[in-house]
Assembly symmetry: C2
Homo-oligomer: 243 residues x 2
């Protein structure tokens, strides 16, 4: 397997209601790329959220008493906190300015995925797509390839961010080595790679954070089409040792 990760440039600035699949197709073409069989397109959450109008102006937000109190605690704008709380199923940790939330989708990340960068107008923030798997399926249907929707998350225990899958369509979540044996013939029971997350991390290396490069073409990864869902990647809170 020879894996290639190619940035998709020249995608126009995306706004609510725009046809993202068409814009990505244009970007692919302008980048000299054509989708082939077994190709996967990694697409940043940010452009999907923009196309889906998942943008909130803080000016129109009325913070609750809880948001005002948490705003004081964290030093954040209480209206931003209000938006974060609405996107959250649960606050997992809070310390200093850091707010780790579990989103309604079950993702555990800073600020419930609410993001202030790369949005038109200085008081606008983006929310994660409502149904990232659904967004991925829609892009996969139109473009005819596998789709991984990515977001950039912090990690526990390690510094620096890494791109992670938040939505998948067609491509499997895992690369399963169970049932196979190691070079000594011993079963490799534990080796189930979270390939969707690893591919997202790889794509994050070429998707510029400043340029109009909201997607990356992943070529050469072997996969069989499945009924994909992020649910498979999320560990049940009761069986997690750090929740």
């Amino acid at each position: 397997m020879n894996l290639q990760i190619v940035p998709v440039h020249h995608v126009p600035e995306i706004a609510a209601g725009m046809n993202l699949a068409e814009c990505l197709r244009d970007g692919l073409k302008a980048s000299g790329l054509e989708l082939a069989d077994r190709d996967i397109l990694a697409v940043t959450q940010k452009v999907i959220s923009k196309a889906e109008g998942r943008i909130v102006r803080l000016a129109g937000i009325e913070p609750s008493a809880r948001s005002v109190s948490m705003g004081r605690q964290t030093g954040k704008d209480p209206r931003l906190i209000e938006v974060i709380l609405r996107e959250s199923r649960r606050i997992v940790r809070i310390r200093g300015p850091i707010l780790i939330c579990e989103t309604h989708h079950g993702f555990i990340c800073a600020n419930a995925g609410v993001d202030q960068s790369n949005v038109d107008g200085s008081d606008s923030v983006t929310l994660l797509p409502k149904d990232p798997d659904g967004s991925a399926r829609e892009l996969a249907r139109i473009l005819g390839c596998g789709i991984i929707v990515t977001d950039t998350f912090g990690r526990v225990w390690r510094e620096g961010l890494i791109d992670t899958a938040v939505g998948i369509a067609r491509v499997p979540a895992f690369m399963d080595f169970r049932g196979k044996t190691d070079t000594q013939g011993r079963p490799l029971q534990a080796t189930i790679l979270a390939s969707a997350d690893a591919l997202a991390a790889a794509a994050g290396l070429v998707m510029g954070k400043t340029a109009r490069t909201p997607a990356a073409l992943i070529r050469g990864f072997p996969w069989e089409e499945t009924n994909s869902s992020m649910a498979a990647l999320l560990r049940a809170p009761e069986s997690d040792l750090f929740l």
Copy 2:
């Protein structure tokens, strides 16, 4: 940037005292690959540990009373527990058969990186390299490329494993977007990608767990040579919210 991740096949089975750099060079050649400027080689911890003789036979291990007790608690061989405890600075979590440890290097992972798969003889286990950055530097010196030593770790909150950096030489730990601005001209303060970990994750997709493919060539990633160290990637326990 067009990123390529190419598996290095045909590396012989590695045993203690073998010249790993030479074996990797042979594998590269047999795979039709030649190292070029700015190439990075990802190498699994396992072959480095084997070459460095970081293998322990459980038959020779005398478990302490603590190991016997923890063996009962986890259902693991007390001698394996003893090896894990010797490799650990601290036990972070223990539940059922799962033992999350902080290694002497500061890595937080299952079983302190002690591994039973892919080792000669059924009662042998491998330990992580004593100084993975040092192992990486030695390979980088001989091969003349960037080196990322990888291991396959579980994650919090998500199912499935992902390859992670445990040693680096020459290549930077991070890709720093600080000081740059987003498409709206707003500073991208938080976007510091842990590129070494993302590259390790990508390499993990092509390095076979069963085949003799303990390395992957990473080509097309832009980097400047630095005095690299894993220390930069490890968050201080006192500033981590999940320790």
